[in-house]
């Protein structure tokens, strides 16, 4: 019974992990026509680095979009989540509903008008414009998460800080934020994974010099066809950051999620 369970589990794990391991292995294999004909080495990586504008351009754009999206999402949702958790203000209910409504509206259906709106704002073909759109899509989850995290922080902690002479904003930054760290971390990781991989809006809203890694991958496939070892090098380079983000935060991720869910 127990042996059966372990061997089934191991077989399934291999099935799920095999494509990743295989891709990593192939990326170091030599290939005819690349810088490295045989054996083990970095030939595929150097070929990728020199292909077209170079994979570095795509990576830089993706890193910039991800950074802006993550920082923007954290700042906006921390402030907004705090407002929803602690204050009463006119329009509070409507704003909260409008934010959650983003989940109800299929994201792809506002692609066309967003293209026009960004054009009016002079943000077409701009990484900043793309990031603002991605922040908007992250807000329902992030606001919900942050509001619940802040509600779980005892009010007494804040009041003590206020008595000690902190300003309201000072108490927010020094006392409330550190106590909501798991929620912030979960928000951070989800925003990062989302921004790193977003394809539809990145394709529609950017051109040549602002293209991100998912677009780069599509271009690579179109141009490389059969030489999949080099494609694998691109895959590895674009996957390492998300794997690092996942493993570095895995432990808190589940905690943050359940904390958010329990309070819901």
């Amino acid at each position: 019974m127990r042996v059966g369970w372990y061997s089934t589990g191991a077989a399934l794990s291999i099935l799920f992990l095999f494509p990743l391991l295989w891709g990593g292995y192939e990326s170091f294999q030599g290939q005819a026509g690349s810088g490295q004909e045989t054996g083990f080495g970095f030939g595929n990586y150097t070929a990728m680095a020199e292909y077209g504008e170079g994979i570095a351009t795509y990576l830089r754009n993706t890193a910039a979009v991800s950074l802006m999206t993550v920082v923007g999402t954290l700042v906006v949702s921390a402030l907004g989540g705090y407002a929803f958790a602690r204050f009463r203000f006119p329009g509070k209910e409507i704003l909260f509903l409008a934010t959650l409504a983003i989940l109800m509206v299929p994201y792809a259906t506002i692609l066309i008008p967003l293209y026009v709106v960004l054009g009016e704002l002079g943000l077409q073909n701009s990484l900043v414009g793309l990031s603002l759109v991605l922040i908007m899509f992250q807000l329902p989850f992030a606001i919900f998460m942050m509001r619940n995290s802040f509600e779980a922080v005892p009010r007494e902690l804040e009041e003590a800080a206020l008595v000690d002479g902190c300003t309201r904003f000072g108490a927010f930054v020094r006392v409330v934020i550190p106590n909501a760290a798991p929620g912030l971390l979960a928000t951070f990781v989800y925003a990062f994974l989302f921004a790193w991989d977003e394809l539809l809006f990145a394709t529609a809203l950017t051109e040549q010099d602002a293209e991100t890694i998912p677009i780069g991958i599509r271009n690579f496939i179109g141009n490389y066809n059969e030489e999949y070892d080099q494609l694998m090098a691109a895959g590895v380079v674009s996957t390492i950051p998300v794997l690092i983000a996942f493993f570095a935060t895995q432990r808190w991720l589940v905690k943050g999620l359940t904390a958010g869910a329990v309070k819901g």
Binding site: G9, F16, P19, I110, M136, L199, Y228, L231, T239
Partner: protein, 278 residues
Amino acid sequence: MLYAAPTAAIVVVFFLVPLVVVFWMSANRWRILGSPTFNFPDNYTKIPDNQLFLDSVSFTLKYTAITTVLLSGIALALALSVQNSRPGVGLFRTAYFLPGVVGFAAASLLFYAFYTQSGPLDDLLIDLGIADEPINWLGTPNAALFSTIGMVIWRFAGFNMLILLTGLQAIPLDVYEAARSDGASRWQTFRYITLPLLRPTIALMLVLSITGSLLAFDQFFILTRGGPDGTTVSMVMVIFREGFTRFDLGSAAAISVLLLIVLVLLNVVQLRVLGRNR
């Protein structure tokens, strides 16, 4: 309130305004260049003549149905197999979930290489004696559909398993103990305890899977590129194509509005069903 101002600004400018604009655009002849002219309801009346869109609707529905059935069945089996804590169970959960962290683009790339004709998958199947000759994984409409579904299941099975796991772990242990002391078999326990108590979680998983599949884009844009012969073009790909290949933003907006209304209604119905089960 100052704290809520950034949220309000982003929600209004990048969500509420576009939501209004899409309706207005759908009522205009709106090309990428030149000024728009009001032409309601032309963009709508030409939808039934848009063969590409009609094909994409039936294709997307087919894809959604097959994916949802397979994905939820596999996710349920995985979740049941790792629901009890034993030594090593965490490793299995992580292994099943890990493909979900990999981006859709990178996953498509990986499977594109896998599916190369006479590539690694063909070699493996021929070595094992399962296949006699190389298979054209992406070459025929059905092969392309199922090859894509294979990738999607690989990537999302673990994620759906995790959703189900949260539901499974919310079932109190004493319910199982009571069933066991009443002499219930394993199948009876599953059929009359686990399944009914898990129903809200299963419903949530189905909603996510259905909505996600109806909006499929990445997998067909990268892995099959809509091919062969435009047989794997999803609905969102048609919106993209109307807007950015044919530069007819008015027509793209009209299709968007149609999808928007249908999917919002579907969401409302699904949420009703979910709410009733709670």
